[in-house]
Amino acid sequence: MSIAPPPAGPVPYAKELSVDLLRDMLRIRRLEERSAQLYGEGKIRGFLHLYIGEEAVAAGAMRALRPEDNIVATYREHGHALLRGVPMRSIMAEMYGKHEGCSHGRGGSMHLFDAKHRFYGGNAIVGGGLPLAVGLALADRMQGRSAVTACFFGDGAVAEGAFHESMNLAALWKLPVLFCCENNFYAMGTAIERYESQTDLCTKAASYGMRTLRVDGQDAVAVHEVTKGAARHVREAAGPCFVEFQTYRFRAHSMFDPELYRDKREIEAWKARGPLHTFSARLKAEGKLTEDEFLAMDREVAKEVGDAVAYAENGTWEPVETLLQDVSTGAAPR
């Protein structure tokens, strides 16, 4: 893996969008830092997969999509859900397993859902969301809607049959799917060169006859620009598009991962490319952000996180009598 220099250069947006992108990333970061802490305290259980280090992808991409678009995400989806508009409160309550959670405590960290925001999960089978995204796009096309279905998945999914079958079907039927591959170079603990015969993922994707784009996933500006263009291409009915966001997970795969497979120097080199500090430095250098403004933003986000935790703490448990609810409509399970 060659590690590029940190993202730099001017941010070609007005102050408002620039600051919004930074706030988006900061909200994910602070939410997840607190989640990790709560995991340590035993408040959050099960699997918890942190997105820390990859925030620029969700931030830049979500702002390139529209309310009518569909989002399909993975088990590392807190950031996508949050930036799509799912309230931090209901995400935190879901991680607590409370009734007030977006999935009423049925899903947990890996299964955040929100129909109102067309957020279709929270899919914890690697590659499992891709066929679903193809179908959502098919439904949109058959019903004459101009929506895009953005499907997020990791590099590990590229080794799954579901990836290849879905890419083929989407390209064959020219469906409006935006395949968003978050390449963090590891499928859990296995480095990409240890599981891919072809590590150039765009080359793989291009074989299906669709447009492919590669972008520095640590740079919110680059992500936003590329995703905007890709979404336009898809929306204009030109068929699906594959975007590879090269990024890096700063934390372990999950809270159970002792991280025996990565070189500490590699992690440090990527941390130098951290999406938050490099972006805020650029904004400061351009005079779009002062240290005081950043601190005020951080306090505001901390308040939102504190409020979300309080909301989850004060939430209620689903009564056990509702256990069998929402399995099937109508006939009670027998």
Binding site: F113, A139, Q143, T329
Partner: protein, 327 residues
Amino acid sequence: MSVTSYREALRQAHREALASDPRVFLMGEDVGRYGGTYAVTKGLLEEFGPERVRDAPLSELAFVGAGVGAALGGMRPIVEVMTVNFSLLALDQIVNNAALYRHMSGGQFSVPLVIRMATGAGRQVAAQHSHSFENWYASIPGLTVLAPATPADARDMLAAALAHPDPVVIFEHVQLYNLEGDLPDARNPDIHSAAVRREGRDVCLISYGGSMPKTLQAAEQLAREGIEAEVVDLRVLRPLDDETILASVRKCRRALVVDETWRSGSLAAEVMARIAEQAFYDLDAPLARVCSEEVPIPYAKHLEDAALPQPEKIVAAVNSMLGRAAG
């Protein structure tokens, strides 16, 4: 009332569904230009066009998953998986997405998807093309599992499945496609109940799908031997209709289940367990079953026949249950 084949009844059901609801579309391998592997969908491409009768690549995982997604997106897809054997390639999408989405999302999403597949053995197509896995699917919360055994059910269950807001899997036994039967004008939208296909009093024979004709044949033979068997067609494999099953068992006081799935962990095992749990003291004899032998289904005709439930095996099992020498 008219006499129609199971295949034609299915085709009629598809035609009606496509004509009456613009959200309905059909997707699967060779459903269009080829006319369907079992010719069920013949003529539908010409009638409804390639947008609504979609030939899919040999990608069971992707097109079944796309059916899940399309259902989430407001459509009413009918996905034909050529056979249950190939459905194993799509199992992740059926189990992990279709069946779980409603619950896992806290009731926010439903998946109104209909998956049809051919099942069963008896055509000398050997081990990999002769499976019956209805029992697997029937064990999964979130799925409704249907097994039409008559042309009328073949027609009516499709419409009922499409009207259902959650995923429905329909098993069509390959030996039934040419079966002819009465097709009443009246529709039966019931996908909750088992049905008594033959009244009797001495023994209750419980079966479904492709084993139904064999079971009814066995009942006729038993009648010639002076034994009046009642025959219950499960129709709905999940959720099972305990009430109808237990009523018949209590009446006959003896029960035998006929099921083409392998004996261990068979659907028969589940039905027997429910009877034992709820009607043990109503029984005059131990429960019995006729299932497939625990062997990959062989190619040679005589071996295949020996591996599967047959009317003679059913008759013998009933005689044994009644303590009679085989007739």
